[in-house]
């Protein structure tokens, strides 16, 4: 067996020898590439600063001169009420602002969640909602990283919410026209790839934190990449896949609701006859969200739908069915 391995290794070395030669890159071209890269970085850096500077200069305008003529009584009263309202608003804004850096399990975290819901409710266009949703997925990733760095467990609610947001991003993309959808899917894919890398780093370097939910999340991110890649190549197919997923999800919700009703009605007579201490069995129930991810997105080139991953991490994020002979 070992000898066979060695032979195979030798074969590999010999096989790849012809590819070792690489034509050198033109140094002038390389300098241009570097200059372009540094310029792009500088533009990004500057775009971050003027945004903030613009807000400040706009707000700190010409107020003192205008205020001088306003101190007649009714105006003064209105001004006082205005200031009080402003103080109340500012205080609540500070709470909301402070909540933005909170982590799951902390007192201000519900405020953060609520503020995200409000932001989504106030956004009407699919593209604005998608941008927000993608920002929120980044937040979930940051929360997970922060919890892991502090050695705390990542609550299932966080990974569940994360997955809902991933799904919502894809659904929002289907509400756009084909061109917008492809751009959106490209963004969704890039984010999912980045976030998949981050989850992978956690799983690799902090294996004790790699809960099944985390592994499942990694698979879900891989699926996100596959689905968005498929959507970029074939918008029609993507829309129909997403529709199917939505039907499936809807069906699952309905069936789980009926199961719950059945379970409750079945539990009543048992509770009536058994000891009143029952009811804890529910806690042992399987979490439907922790089931292995289906991979329906592998149909990009008319191949059979992909098999579901086994969760052992042996499947890369890129569907390779199209590359098979």
């Amino acid at each position: 067996m070992k000898r066979a391995e060695r032979e195979l290794d030798e074969f590999g070395k010999k096989l790849f020898a012809p590819l070792h030669q690489v034509p050198p890159l033109d140094s002038r071209m390389m300098e241009q590439e570097k200059a372009h890269f540094l310029l792009e970085a500088e533009n990004l850096r500057q775009n971050m600063i003027p945004g903030m500077a613009g807000v400040k200069s706009h707000k700190m305008g010409h107020q003192p001169a205008r205020l001088q003529g306003l101190f007649s009584l009714p105006v003064y009263k209105a001004l006082v009420i205005g200031v009080l309202v402003l103080i109340l608003l500012t205080a609540s804004s500070f709470t909301v602002f402070a909540a933005q850096s909170s982590l799951p399990g902390q007192a201000l975290y519900p405020v953060k969640s609520a503020s995200e819901d409000v932001a989504l409710t106030l956004a009407f266009s699919p593209s604005t909602r998608l941008n927000l949703t993608l920002q929120f997925t980044n937040r979930r990733m940051n929360e997970i990283q922060a919890l892991v760095a502090e050695g705390k467990p990542v609550p299932d609610q966080t990974t569940d919410l994360y997955q809902q947001e991933l799904n919502s991003a894809l659904q929002l993309a289907t509400q756009m026209n084909n061109q917008q959808m492809q751009t959106a899917l490209s963004e969704i894919k890039t984010r999912a790839q980045d976030q998949g890398l981050s989850v992978g780093q956690i799983i690799t370097h902090q294996p004790h934190q790699a809960t099944p939910a985390m592994v499942h999340l990694q698979e879900r991110l891989q699926e996100q990449v596959q689905l968005s890649t498929m959507g970029e190549a074939n918008p029609q197919e993507f829309r129909s896949q997403m529709q199917q997923r939505e039907h499936l999800r809807h069906g699952e919700k309905q069936s789980s609701a009926t199961e719950e009703i059945e379970a409750t009605s079945a539990a009543v007579p048992i509770l009536a006859t058994a000891t009143p201490a029952g009811g804890e069995e529910n806690a042992g129930g399987a979490n439907p969200i922790a089931q292995p991810t289906e991979m329906p997105g592998n149909k990009s080139n008319g191949n059979k739908p992909g098999q579901s991953t086994s969760g052992n991490g042996n499947h890369g994020p890129n569907p390779t069915d199209t590359l098979q002979p």
């Binding site: 590999g12 890269f37 390779t320």
Partner: protein, 184 residues
């Protein structure tokens, strides 16, 4: 916690420090180009891959979702995704019939032909592997990486990487013998 050199460099890069960004470009651009060229066999495509890799890296920094460590692995992963997308966008290669062969004055004509064919066949065989198999063998046999480093890049256990390597080489052996069978 112990800070690795990557972590220190990345901390500066996240502040968009020009010196640090330049350092990263100088450190990894040639390697990314070589990696892409060996897979794609085309200078322009390899340059495009390299350029896009660094652009995507900046984009990740902008979104504050870049790596905290193992920068090299991160960049190769981006390049790998680019190459995979490129392969996917192309029609899957069939057995070659029209391999382009330009003369090189320093080589004998028969060497030119056989060398070109070898390289093209190998690239086409590589294109027929799964993305992960391809990355494992390329990093191992062309870039000379240790299995542990490859495992970090792919976010897989070392055992899984060895299995991928084994399967990839078996597939390549089969594919290359197929080329020989048809007399190419």
């Amino acid at each position: 916690m112990r800070n690795s050199p990557d972590q220190a460099l990345l901390a500066r890069v996240k502040r968009f420090e020009a010196k640090a960004l330049e350092e990263i470009f100088d450190l990894y651009s040639q390697g990314i180009y070589r990696y892409a060229y060996r897979l794609l066999g085309d200078v322009e495509l390899a340059q495009e891959c390299m350029s896009e890799t660094f652009s995507r890296f900046l984009d990740a920094l902008r979104r504050d979702s870049g790596p905290d460590n193992y920068l090299q692995a991160y960049l190769y992963r981006i390049a790998h995704n680019w190459v995979t997308d490129y392969y996917r966008s192309k029609v899957p290669p069939d057995l070659p019939l029209d391999v382009e062969m330009r003369g090189d004055p320093q080589e004998e004509p028969h060497e030119v032909v056989s060398g070109k064919l070898d390289r093209e066949q190998l690239r086409q065989a590589l294109a027929l592997l799964t993305a992960d198999q391809r990355q494992v063998v390329v990093l191992k046999y062309l870039e000379g990486w240790e299995t542990e480093a490859i495992a970090r890049t792919l976010h897989k256990p070392v055992g899984a990487v060895k299995a991928l390597q084994h399967r990839a080489l078996e597939s390549l052996r089969r594919l290359m013998s197929r080329y020989e069978d048809v007399g190419l």
